[in-house]
């Protein structure tokens, strides 16, 4: 969501101040493998120390605060490792934390409201989660090694299989699919499935789904507006 009350983040700001302003940024620190406690240090200092691209940090942090990239930022191939680090760790967060958390809530929901619809919601979610896992695996095993190799040609290509070649179209289709099923779930929970003793747990699920949606939106914005443009420039150079 667009929030003007949040800061527009700049390199000379203290990391702890950013977190006080918007605690969701703790996830950004986690994904970039930065320490939780940074004392009085600024973004610039911490990034330099940990070999993290400051411009990538700032762009992602601003996305968390609701500011989309203007297109004027300048990124280079040197930013690729930071971006991939962020995205890979975010995958881990989805797969091992966020999705299981929502899954547990849906089980809780079924305990309170054992209707056939909720049973089907569980099934819907499992199938959806499997699709998401497939996409994440595709990125981890095919797309990211491919991007990394563009940055550092001496890097090994990973376990690339013959029939799994990276394609930017496929990449985009996956994203819109993942987001649209999440919308389906929210629509069903808020407009269609009757409430039966499940108001509190339904609130938790709904907020979890919205958080996840917001985070996935940041995730695909990073890929599509920061990472892909760098990659296509590198591809042009090679051709």
């Amino acid at each position: 969501m667009y929030r003007t009350e949040k800061y527009y983040i700049k390199a000379e700001m203290k990391i702890s101040d950013l977190i006080f302003d918007n605690p969701s940024l703790l996830l950004l620190l986690e994904n970039l493998e930065l320490d939780l406690i940074s004392g009085e240090r600024t973004i610039e200092q911490v990034c330099l120390e940990k070999n993290i691209s400051t411009s990538v940090f700032i762009s992602i942090a601003n996305l968390f605060n609701g500011f989309y990239p203007t297109g004027e930022e300048e990124f280079s191939s040197a930013d690729i490792p930071t971006i991939i680090k962020y995205l890979k760790n975010a995958h881990n967060y989805y797969e091992n934390e966020k999705y299981p958390e929502i899954r547990n809530c849906i089980e809780e929901l079924y305990k309170r409201n054992s209707s056939p619809e909720i049973q089907l919601v569980g099934k819907f979610f499992d199938e959806y989660f499997n699709e998401v896992k497939e996409h994440l695996a595709y990125e981890d095993k095919v797309a990211f090694p491919y991007f990394y190799k563009l940055y550092d040609p001496s890097a090994s290509q990973g376990q690339e299989k013959e029939n799994e070649k990276y394609s930017s179209n496929e990449y985009h289709d996956h994203h819109s699919d993942i987001e649209s099923k999440l919308t389906d779930l929210k629509e069903l929970l808020l407009k269609h499935i009757p409430v039966k003793n499940d108001r509190i747990i339904r609130r938790k699920i709904f907020i979890n789904l919205s958080d996840l949606e917001h985070d996935l939106n940041i995730h695909s914005t990073i890929e599509e507006t920061i990472l892909i443009p760098i990659v296509s420039q590198l591809e042009k150079k090679i051709d």
Binding site: M1, Y2, R3, T4, P116, E117, Q119, L120, V121, K123, F124, E127, S180, K181, T183, D184, L185, E187, L188, K191, H192, I193, P194
Partner: protein, 200 residues
Amino acid sequence: MTKSLINIAILEPSQIITEGLSNILLKTGTYSKIFKIDSLNEFNTKLFGSQIDIAIINPNQIQNKLKEFSLLKKSLSDTLWAGLVYTFFDQHLLSQFDRIINITDSPESIGELIHKIKNSDYHSSNGSEIEQLSEREIEVLKLLIKGLPNKEIGDKLNISIHTVISHRKNISQKTGIKSQAGLTIYAISNKIVQIEDYLN
């Protein structure tokens, strides 16, 4: 489906006024995205990537560009053009706008402007306030959730594949749900089909 996001562009040289206006707009509680722009030309660029619903412009910015402005209005016919007035302007100049916002207007009246936009969109895209499926759409939905492809649905109902696709589009728009699995749950919740057919 209601259109929830409103895109607003502000063309106003004073940063203080732009920021103040943005704040008021964001506080109306509508999910809006605000673009700050520096010249009329920017409306023509693909910069926004999406349609601008409301353009708020300082009339000074169109003073010597009336022709350009009227062309712009023609090419972006769905946009509402509002003049932001805090000094004296010629009546003719102000008549170019669909609506005038005065600097002394209350935040509430600006909020009303946004809500009006939102509702007019809502009505034009749906025709009615109640998002009920038509009988035909319900027939299509029943076959759809059985997993039949468009062609077979068309054959069963004696309609063309294009009609099937257009019904499907309307179903998703009215329910807000796109996937087949999601529509199945919708149909059960709304007692359009029996649950027994779909479990296990």
